[in-house]
Symmetry: D2
Subunit: 372 residues, 4 copies
């Protein structure tokens, strides 16, 4: 591993999210921002402002410049496949906004291309880099919540009604990537039912409810909604031992861990006739709000991107995590079209045609050998 | 209408809800509480306390007493049909806890019996008598919210895991009865999908999500959950003009009406090519929290029960409202058993075999002649 | 201790608070409610309702009845002295609403009379019997908060503008009695400054700020206000180790203990020149919300009253606690009249003329022998 | 007014607040940032980052550069007088952080110097440029709140214990400048009582309560506190007609206007004997949360600074507003040293020795001719 000189990076796309990538790329020690690239050159210049030394250039010029080793892509979702593939083929490491690609198939091709070219393919699943998700992940995977009983995520606000994607593809990747990050290896979504409606005539769903059935029988529910006048972002993981609630808009106490719940008592101890009455017990313990550092998640994304390039390893949210999210989105879209029918979610491991193998440690989830 | 002397009433069932009925019956001017009746005589005596002049007696004795003109039934749901039928046949007016009966069929028989005997059959849909639901009803039915875009109700807390009913039958009647009370005549649930899970081994769902498709295409979602460590009770009605949010646990501001939202612009005004970009407009107006009286809803239930008896009219939440709720619960149970399949909700008006007719004004909803 | 038969009790005063005393007296096992007594006989009958076996009678009749061993007084503050003295002289145990009496001098006479007649004199300092105050008391007196740094109590709402007392005498007794209950023996108020205003022309203060200087140099501040459109009841005890915040209107989490704060570092360890920069250190630890039982405080008041009579001991909030509160109120009134001048608070122990002695354990605070 | 070319500006001081000034100066159209100046050159370079074209230079060099027409000063408070005076004497317009100067006398000299040199002297009273304060100002001065009954500001959090100033001088300028901005012309602070404590041995107050008596008899209270584990920033203006509450940390609803309150009824209408009982009436109307734009206040500060220079006029928060705040702080410090004694606040207009006159319109408050 050599990290003597910073990694040259370009940001592709200066729209909604691009300026945040520009700002954070500039402030990440291991990176050096070379270019901002946008079809609208004036917009790119406005984003940089009049005091900047960063250059504006077209995509081809950027990809041809050997000073650029990595790109961060924040173009519209429909173009992710094309831009990312071009960058990978030009030998660049790629950080891409969610979703990885417009279809599972294209996502798979990107993952394969990254493997083939030996380049990092990383998803900007920003929320996975918050202190809150990291803490929840530790609690869940460390067993402190006990058995998982339910998950519930509400992500609603008066959001921009997107012209090209529905609310499911726009917002739910956040929730699904968090599920992906925190679930233990043996608990994963097996099917999904999606219900949506389009009360403003947008041509696609503006309100949607996703209900995922997990492999342990529990439900994970996601409510995404562009039409809510108030913003709500709550994420709950209910466990047999503890329940953790993340209220992202609570200025004082974003995470709280409740030592309260319902537990099965040992059925062997209970008289069969009395069983219905006595088989559960209630706990009402304390609530703890852990002190968490107040980090900007996108900074951590950039740091992880730089580190995974420098250390030649898979990043925390690698292409596979993006592919797993796409598998759920694809199944949810089918369900949406079939009046909420329950649709099985394809196993990412089982659909890879090429037979390539990446080491366990290269994957975030590490559910065993992943064959492509 | 003669209301010279108060109506003699007996409360049947001294368990969880019975004491509230006892207290409110005593404080309602048009009623005189004669008896509390419970299989467990000691429990009944404990509920009344040592300073009370109210009598404890068995059901048969109570029903045989001509001083008793009405009964309020708060026995377990499984017994509602039997107890209510017995009371109706004894010529008593009946107020019954939700749900009306364990099955739609039994509910229908009760409605018919009430018709046949000319007695009031009223559901204790307590929430429908809160200031909040009345205000929401006025807003929705008065058109102030514009077109209904979505409804969302969350009713979760660390609740008693019931031995005999699942969380859907335990909690969702509250939400469904509120929907029933507030929806305009031309918007009603047509199908329902229900997903549930039983992570504590209770033998039935402890967590459930209901997604109702309304006749106008909108979704109404209900999340009921016995396993949540924190209590949440929020109810949202999103409209094209305004959205109303009811947070029942907010001590300061329970209802808020948001003049914010997304509206379709006139498609005729818009160039077809630009249409996707421009067809919606956003409003960000003020939020108003109306000053509402702080009434105990159950008192209003009792007052309405007494008034409907005295005035010989259908109460606000009559047997039909109970039957409409049963129709949804029944469909939801089928959906639950079929992995969330979308199940049509039977039209109450269309399934009545006997051909009887009650006048429009006798029904709360008045969607036209209701034939039995 | 003999508690074979319940203690006969009468409630005197059926106004604002009386009905609560009636209800709780009836539900307390060690008590038997004999009478409700009010100058307005109809009001007394309305409070009891038509189903009650409790009698209505005049004060003299009640005090003459040997079945009555104790009285609970909820008459207007101006009459407390007269009624309580009459009851003590009739040999009754007395529970009295706050404040104990209209003046310190009259309060002192009541305490002496109770001593002389060997009867319990107890203050209904209701808040001191909440789970929250008990828990705070344990934390403070158990040293878990470290050194006390500040106290802050806000008690504001749209309250009834009282005709006969100002906001200070109406509301501040709550806060002052809580201070009295929780402070450790060696920390007590030594002076008070009070500022008030009367913006509605009530003839006395409707808004008031009290700043108490404690014996350890810390400030305890109380804001009472009848004119606030929103209700706020927060109580903070800041310590060098932890800070506890009680938000009485938070439906989810009333008490929270914050392991955050500022601490002095050892000055000896610090270079004098750097001292200004380095002498404090910050902690940002977890926040814990303890699970507390949800009790009705007034029930506990009644239980303590019954127990102190039965066990022939001083109650938790005895006459001395009422007298200490009066000492502060009296000084605050002087300060109010003198534009917020700092006024010393008289030491209760030092102003007792009679020389009587009650054992340490008979006093709640037990700051050493208390001589009268 | 010529604004053809942007105004050259330098930021002096790259510590806590300086980076915000740098960022906002760069984004304000009428300004061009020429320099960042800090005694610690490396810190200045770090603040600018490696991609910036802005220069780092010393104060003398900056003041000598004719391209610099204005400076924004964010150095420690103790140096404000010296740096600002130097800048004014060099003919620069000056924006200075609060407080204007360490003493009233030095503040007066700065105001005079600005007059003498014909340069803008503006205070960065950032809060006065928020949407919330502007809206409150409009409500108060527009008479919509009715008569002012009380003001209450709480500004507490776990703040940096400053080595050189107490909590009063550190935090209260925010609250006092807001009072200054919103109060109508005929209502102003006449005296102040301040109580403070230093529980961590900082050498000066870390907790303080200020009680200002206004000219109409109302109280304005400020609680500032560096030791609170939770952050609270609430600001209340109570009026006879309405009360406005600003909760700066409420993510959903920062401002709420309550149409609730207590009002005097006409005493002439009331029988003298009944007067005490009936002289007030209560209103419980709706609460409105106005939709306010979500602006960065500091951007508005910069825009106002640029505009006041370009238009050759006094800015909204001119030197006089800074001087009025200093008059209160000075009196509060005297009160603090004298155990909370009430201290009169000097009238800014009455203490000016030089006899100079600025036109009414040059002052924000415009209480008539201001003579220096």
């Amino acid at each position: 591993m050599k990290t003597s000189s910073p990694i040259g990076i370009a940001v592709i796309g200066g729209g909604y999210w691009g300026p945040n990538l520009v700002r954070n790329a500039q402030q990440t020690p291991g990176l050096h921002l070379e270019y901002l690239c946008d079809l609208d050159v004036d917009r790119a210049k406005r984003v940089l402002g009049e005091y900047s030394t960063v250059r504006v250039a077209g995509l081809d010029e950027v990809l041809a410049d050997p000073a650029v080793q990595a790109v961060a892509i924040a173009t519209p979702a429909a173009t992710h496949y094309e831009v990312a593939m071009k960058a990978l083929e030009a030998g660049k490491h790629v950080l891409v906004e969610k979703p990885l690609a417009p279809t599972f198939e294209e996502g798979r091709l990107l993952v394969e291309a990254a493997e083939r070219h030996g380049r990092v393919l990383m998803l900007d699943h920003t929320y996975c880099y918050t202190s809150e998700v990291r803490h929840i992940r530790d609690l869940v995977r460390g067993g402190e919540l006990g058995e998982l009983q339910y998950l519930d995520s509400v992500r609603i606000n008066l959001g921009l009604v997107q012209p090209d994607v529905d609310v499911l593809w726009d917002l739910a990747p956040h929730d699904l990537s968090i599920f992906d990050a925190i679930l233990p290896d043996d608990v994963y979504p097996v099917s999904v039912a999606a219900h949506g409606s389009d009360p403003v005539g947008a041509g696609h769903a503006c309100v949607a409810h996703l209900t995922l059935r997990l492999s342990n029988g529990a439900l994970a529910h996601v409510h995404v909604n562009w039409l809510s006048p108030t913003k709500i972002r709550t994420f709950v993981v209910g466990g047999s031992s503890r329940t953790v609630i993340w209220d992202d808009l609570n200025p004082v106490q974003r995470l709280s861990v409740h030592d309260r719940g319902v537990e099965r008592t040992n059925p062997a101890d209970v008289d069969p006739d009395a069983r219905r009455q006595t088989f559960v017990s209630y706990r009402t313990g304390d609530t703890v709000s852990p002190a968490l550092p107040n980090l900007e998640a996108l900074r951590s994304v950039m740091v992880e991107f730089a580190a995974s390039i420098a250390e030649n390893r898979a990043p925390l949210t690698d292409g596979w995590s993006g592919l797993r999210v796409l598998a759920i989105l694809e199944a949810a879209s089918i369900s949406l079209a079939k009046d909420g029918m329950s649709v099985p979610i394809r196993t990412v491991e089982g659909h890879s045609p090429s037979g390539g193998t990446i080491p366990i440690e290269a994957s975030q989830r590490g559910r065993g050998e992943v064959t492509v």
